[in-house]
Amino acid sequence: MRKLLLALVGMTLLIPAFAWAGDPSPWPPVGAEVEVFKLISGNWVSLGAGNIGADARAFTSKPLAGDSNQKYWYIPFENHASVAQWVSWAITGTRWDWFVRKPGCYAADCIGFFIASNYSVDILYSGFDDLVYQDTGGVTLTIPVWYAVWGLGTPPPDSLWIPAASLNGLDIFIPDSKDLHYGISHKLWNKICTVPSNSACEYEDDAWVVIELKRIKIWIDPQTGYFKPLS
């Protein structure tokens, strides 16, 4: 395998069916936007107002006034927070390079994968396949590839290996959980088997891993992950 590209195309944005509870904040919001401060290393840092890239924004609405002789005035007060889904992920490598001198089956702990989110995510795969001969001619033009999610330092058992093409369309759903909030780590193993009929050459496959957030708020721009414009 000469090159395997794992591109994480972050946030594919399918808005799941979501029953709004309570009185959700509308977007564009009513009222006036106010300056927001964020506590960073013990200091309050202004995030300003109107910043679509801000970590948080705030609006105030429903002003009220009274003028009378009545003894009691009851002022209803609402405080509402809409928390968007966030994801934090890391991958130790998006390109794997095999250098094979002799035929045989080889396995390696190729990459480490970390993901944390405050709601369910889907991991989707596409473009996975055997490595393809990159030149003209040749005898056997592919090198079969398998993948496995395995956390130990030795190769996984045969039953866990998944042929590359079988990954495509596979939907690994990670439900919302405390573990997910604080991060889940996995190792992705890779196995190839070269045979004597594989000519000396370069073999390659490009593929994609897609992380899909399952809850996108109406005020989030699904393409950028920032705030939608107010108008």
């Binding site: 709004w20 509870a21 309570g22 009185d23 959700p24 904040s25 919001p29 009222g31 006036a32 106010v34 300056e35 927001v36 401060f37 964020k38 506590l39 200091n43 309050w44 801000a54 970590d55 948080a56 924004r57 705030a58 609006f59 105030t60 609405s61 429903k62 002003p63 009220l64 006034a65 009274g66 003028d67 009378s68 002789n69 009545q70 003894k71 009691y72 005035w73 009851y74 002022i75 209803p76 007060f77 609402e78 405080n79 509402h80 927070a81 809409s82 928390v83 968007a84 966030w86 944390a116 405050n118 709601y119 405390k178 909030h181 604080y182 708020k217 989030i220 992950g225 920032y226 705030f227």
Partner: protein, 282 residues
């Protein structure tokens, strides 16, 4: 000579009833009836027998009481047009900000019968007058009033990432002619609308305008409910403004969702003082 019955009465309060009873008695009508009866009894003591005199006394008393009750029903006072000063001009006040009622100005026989005055049950101003040579008493009753405005009663946070955030949520301005208690109730952490076990930590602060974020005295939402403020006004400080700050702490454990808390701020007039201004002519 004349008792003013100035009492501050907020709509629905029991002081009205007590005031009315007090007026009925000390407002002198019954006392005067007794006084007149005693006067006549003394004059006629030598003419009629004691039994006859008692009968006359009782009959006359009943007639007078009946007359007085009927009379009092028909003399609830005459409400006068009230003018209100607006800038340099006087304009007719149709806002019911004040009423002005004149009660039976005087009697014709000078016995003191007719001089009745009081404050109507719903009036915020009354006047008491008497003929020349008799004391004039003006009674002004000012009911406690309150004027307030709050710039917002709903705060909406839109949070993309965990962190601790703060904003100046609202400004509350109150003015009153009485002390006002600002009572906070129902303040709590923001509760996940799908999973009530989850919440976002909420903190509040009440500060003078212009306070820097770093100097706000943050109070947990639950403790905020016992952080009532008593506002006292004076000529030099006729209104007060308080800034209501809010801080939320969104942790990694907070799932993407809607979080909410509903609370109530109650403004209540605290001192129902009798504010009576008497002016007596010499």
């Amino acid at each position: 000579m004349i008792l003013s019955t100035g009492k501050v009465c907020v709509a629905g309060c029991q002081e009205k009833v007590l005031s009315s009873i007090w007026y009925l008695w000390t407002g002198s009508n019954l006392a005067r009836i007794f006084k007149v009866l005693w006067h006549f009894s003394s004059s006629l003591a030598g003419v009629f027998s004691i039994r006859r005199l008692a009968s006359l006394w009782l009959t006359f008393f009943l007639v007078m009481v009946t007359f007085d009750l009927a009379f009092s029903q028909s003399t609830q006072g005459e409400e006068k047009q009230v003018w209100k000063r607006q800038g340099n001009k006087w304009r007719i006040d149709n806002s019911n900000g004040a009423t002005f009622t004149v009660f039976d100005p005087k009697s014709s026989d000078g016995t003191g019968f007719g001089l009745a005055a009081g404050v109507s049950s719903s009036s915020s101003a009354g006047v008491l007058g008497e003929a020349t040579g008799v004391d004039l008493t003006a009674t002004t009753t000012i009911e406690p009033w309150i004027h307030f405005s709050i710039t917002a009663t709903r705060l909406d946070w839109f949070v993309r990432k965990p962190g601790t955030y703060a904003m100046r949520g609202a400004s509350l301005t109150v003015s009153s002619n009485s002390a006002v208690l600002v009572d906070f109730e129902g303040f709590a952490n923001l509760v996940n609308q799908e999973d009530p076990a989850q919440s976002i930590g909420a903190y509040y602060g009440v500060e003078q305008p212009g306070m820097a974020t770093g100097l706000v005295n943050w109070i947990t939402a639950s403790n905020f409910n016992s952080s009532d403020r008593l506002l006292i006004f004076s000529e030099g400080s006729p209104s007060k403004t308080l800034d209501l700050w809010n801080m939320i702490s969104v942790s990694q454990s907070n799932s993407s969702c809607e979080y909410e808390d509903e609370a109530v701020i109650t403004l209540s007039i605290q001192v129902l003082t009798v504010f009576v201004e008497n002016q007596k002519s010499d």
